[in-house]
Amino acid sequence: MRALTVFWNILSKDMRSYYLKPPNISWGLIFPLAWTGMFFIRSGVGLESVPELLPGVMAVSVLFGTTSMLAVTVTFEKKHRSFERLLLAPIPLELLMLAKTTGAIVFGVANAFVPVIMAAFLMDLSVVSWGTLIPAVVLIAFSSTFLGLFIAVSVSEVFEAQTFSNFFRFPMLFLCGLFFPIERLPVWLRPVSYAMPLTYGVDLLHESVRRAGTMPAVLDFGMLAAFCAVLFAVSLRNIKTKWIL
């Protein structure tokens, strides 16, 4: 019960202080809209391309929506020492960091469904396999958030977190199979692609929207879960060794 009280209060404070602010809400809406527009212009095709574009727009919305928030909720609070209040609370570090990241996960999932709502007016969504799509989005949000956490605890300034995020985000964007199928990438780049969590998330989204996944869904889910576990564990270890000196 006490753990639940702490978890809920950290989450609701972050939601009120960061996520539910008008700039973030508008960012959460405008960003997927802008990506959708860019993809349409690029493809130069009509509404029949919406199912092809949807997985990519969803994945990008989650990736950018989650990774950018941790720089504020974690790095900023660490810099201004309010994070010390959380470290002094008699709660396990694992619970504390889950509470700090859940807001970003919820924000990322909400971001992913903005393009889905838009797509509802443009395509027949009855073809979508929701049983695959929803857990896929949630796992992409978890893995992207934990990547953001890993970045946030590796730096000491907010601007460093933003810069460092791009070091991961843009290669992932281009190598995850969103713009080019992985089979068309140079052979030496393919291992890099398979070392990125978004690759497996995008594959699941392609499968659930267009039945066009290239890997078994079990493998995709397993790899995403493994990335979540490793990134969270490494982030916790970094907090213990770098912040609790």
Binding site: V6, R81, P90, L245
Partner: protein, 330 residues
């Protein structure tokens, strides 16, 4: 409140180094239940590092920390519910109001909604902040921020409170109010571990004091025992024109039983184990070409004891700290 017999904080052989610098070395002390224990030392002496290790914000290289019988060097989380911590900077959330900050801090200790709202209201009133309860913390004055930070440290009514420089950088009225609150908390039974560079504050509030210099404790004693070191010492302080340079040599030559030093503000300080006769001393200085504006007998304070034990000029220590704070705030 004087301490009971049970130690609630027990530290043995505590050591910590950062980047090749020994921040804390072989520190041992005990704080008894209900005691107000002062930790005094100059900037960089290891006070905050020690507090961080005691509260679980830093890991000791070696040594043991016991908080109410719990081994905090191994399991810091297990004792954190017993502690309130007020850091040297007011680190509450700027975007939350005073009331929301206290309520949130209560929630971190698992307090339910009704209890923490009641306690937050009670503390805001007690600290004179009830009129500003709904204002954002970012808009508070320094003194108000400090008071709210202390209130946040005791929201869960901890039996042990760590206060790191609670009155640094705030106005005199707020500092007086905070000192009164600290004394009241201690009188109500809270064990308090206080670091400060205001020696007169430690003298007024603490039952026992540890002096720490360059990471090592050089003396731990009751304030009464430390003050006894001033007994049988006679001190005269003289303000002279044109500075004190060369005058101590003249005093040493003519009155070798007197120990003479110059103070940070250019006065001459003369001390002896026998009563000092002011008339001959003033005449000697005037014969040496100085004009004496004022000569007064001084009752030695804890500050003098600190200087004698540590060899550190207390005024310089305070100025150094204030400069560091001003630099950080700029």
């Amino acid at each position: 409140m004087s301490g009971g017999s049970e130690p609630v904080i027990q530290v043995e052989g505590l050591a910590k180094h950062f980047d090749g610098v020994q921040a804390v070395a072989d520190v041992d002390f005990e704080v008894r239940e209900g005691e107000l224990f002062g930790f005094l030392g100059p900037n960089g002496a290891g006070k905050t590092t020690t507090i961080n290790m005691l509260t679980g914000l830093a890991r000791p290289d070696s040594g043991t920390i016991g908080i109410a019988g719990i081994d905090c060097s191994k399991k810091p989380k297990a004792a954190q519910h017993l502690m309130g911590v007020v850091p040297d900077e007011s680190n509450l959330y700027p975007e939350l109001s005073g009331f929301e900050n206290l309520s949130f801090c209560g929630a971190l200790y698992g307090m339910d909604r009704r209890d923490r709202r009641e306690r937050a209201g009670e503390l805001l009133e007690r600290f004179g902040l009830d009129a500003a309860a709904e204002r954002k913390f970012a808009g508070y004055s320094k003194g108000m921020k400090r008071k709210l930070t202390i209130a946040a440290g005791i929201i869960h009514s901890p039996p042990i409170l760590f206060l790191d420089e609670p009155t640094t950088g705030i106005d005199v009225a707020s500092a007086r109010q905070i000192r009164r609150l600290i004394a009241d908390l201690n009188a109500a039974g809270t064990t308090i571990f206080l670091t400060t560079h205001y020696i007169e504050e430690a003298e007024r509030l603490c039952g026992r004091i540890a002096f720490i210099v360059e990471g090592r404790i050089v003396r731990i004693d009751a304030v009464g025992n430390l003050m006894r070191l001033t007994e049988g010492r006679h001190v005269v302080r003289l303000s002279v024109s044109g500075g004190a340079a060369g005058l101590c040599e003249a005093i040493a030559a003519e009155m070798p039983h007197l120990a003479c030093t110059t103070t940070g503000d250019g006065d001459i300080r003369v001390e002896s184990t026998e009563p000092v006769r002011v008339g001959p001393l003033v005449r000697l200085l005037e014969d040496s070409g100085a004009e004496v504006f004022e000569a007064r007998r001084v009752r030695e304070s804890l500050e003098d004891v600190f200087v004698r034990i540590t060899g550190i000029e207390a005024g310089a220590m305070k100025q150094e700290k204030d400069r560091a704070k001003a630099g950080a705030g700029a």
